[in-house]
Symmetry: C2
DNA sequence: AATAATAAAAATTTTGAAATTCCTTCCCTT
DNA sequence: AAGGGAAGGAATTTCAAAATTTTTATTATT
């Protein structure tokens, strides 16, 4: 997710045992678990590889994330009560605070880990009342893959970028609290569409 | 998927090494890979368990399968060409042949493995032109989980059941070939809705 | 020169046992 | 009797090495 390993890079357990201070078998164990999330791909008798990045895959991950988030948000708007609203406004507040800081700060890269966590928390909360553990688990995996695909994309994290992002998150929040399903679907799409052609 | 292990049952690698003629560690390796598909659940330091079945989970799996299949079919109708149509009619023909046989046969349980494969092939082909490897991979996992949830549900596999199933598959095929997205979504929903309340 | 076959090297998988962690039972204290 | 804590047993995880398979390099054949 933080691009310390190159997309497509071979992951040989034996090469990591010194770095991580454990046996090759333990590394293998961990890689099998990472392959569940989709950050790593496993092929029988051929070992592990960091999942490739490509235009097509970025598009696919984005499209799929839109599908899951739209569905999850729509269901949450139907089923979510006051606790959901409270959690959503809370996570949004936290997120927008960080984003505002980052828009003003000249060196926003320091906060990128913090921002990423807060961004996930907001989107996760948005779908948290959908009533489908399966959708939420899948969304969690896709979100991670989304970050993996996008982290290498050198984007201009300038003031304009964050201004846009802030407005988009606000639009999602407003639509969700207003229980306006169509507006929320549109807001989610508008938030992610920039990643469809990159 | 064939209910040889009870839902929720503890899977202790050491207990399988004799039965399968391999070491406990190899069993662990396999269980980790099964957990990716969702047939088995893994918890750190607590080992493996066959995924539980429940009313809620059956509903969740069904709902999620409907979402994926509707989306996949809709996209396939847009993008799929003659090869897709050909594959779809072929897999449907194969499936309906088996189902007709099973409707007439007094002992349909013998063919259940064959039928299950053909059923998957048909549904997989339906979404095969959607252009999203991610959706198709997720669908494959969900389909397996769906079967796992439903196999224990003693259903009346009588003539009426297969007559209904045959008509439902036909309806999906017709709508797909006619590129009628709304009709196809409805047909998919109608095909699976019986599993929403079971 | 291209293809196929062979041999060596490297990587993956499996093994059996040691180390660690978790769970149950029993005993003690309150 | 209830709760807490130690001891023992069972299960999980880790390890280092052996066995297997794949990949690469070399040689032979067409």
């Amino acid at each position: 997710m933080t691009a310390v390993f190159e997309p497509g890079a071979k992951m040989k357990p034996a090469e990591f045992q010194q770095e991580y201070g454990c046996s090759a078998n333990t590394v293998r164990d961990v890689l099998l678990r990472l392959s569940k999330v989709g950050l790593v791909e496993f092929e029988m008798q051929r070992g592990f590889r960091v999942t490739q990045t490509s235009r097509e895959r970025r598009r696919d991950v984005t499209q799929f994330r839109i599908l899951l988030e739209q569905e999850g948000a729509t269901q949450s708007m139907v089923r979510g009560g006051l606790p959901w609203e409270a959690a959503l406004t809370a996570t949004h507040h936290k997120l927008s605070h960080i984003e505002t800081k980052m828009a003003r700060d000249a060196q926003p890269k320091t906060y990128v880990g913090l921002w990423s966590d807060a961004e996930y928390e907001f989107h996760e909360t948005l779908i948290s009342a959908c009533g489908s553990p399966l959708l939420m688990e899948t969304y969690a995996n896709i979100y991670v893959q989304f970050r993996q695909q996008m982290v290498s994309q050198a984007r201009d994290f300038g003031e304009d970028y964050f201004r846009a992002i802030i407005a988009e998150h606000q639009a999602i929040l407003d639509a969700a609290l207003a229980r306006d399903a169509e507006a929320c679907r549109t807001a989610i799409y508008d938030h992610l569409k920039r990643n469809l052609q990159v």
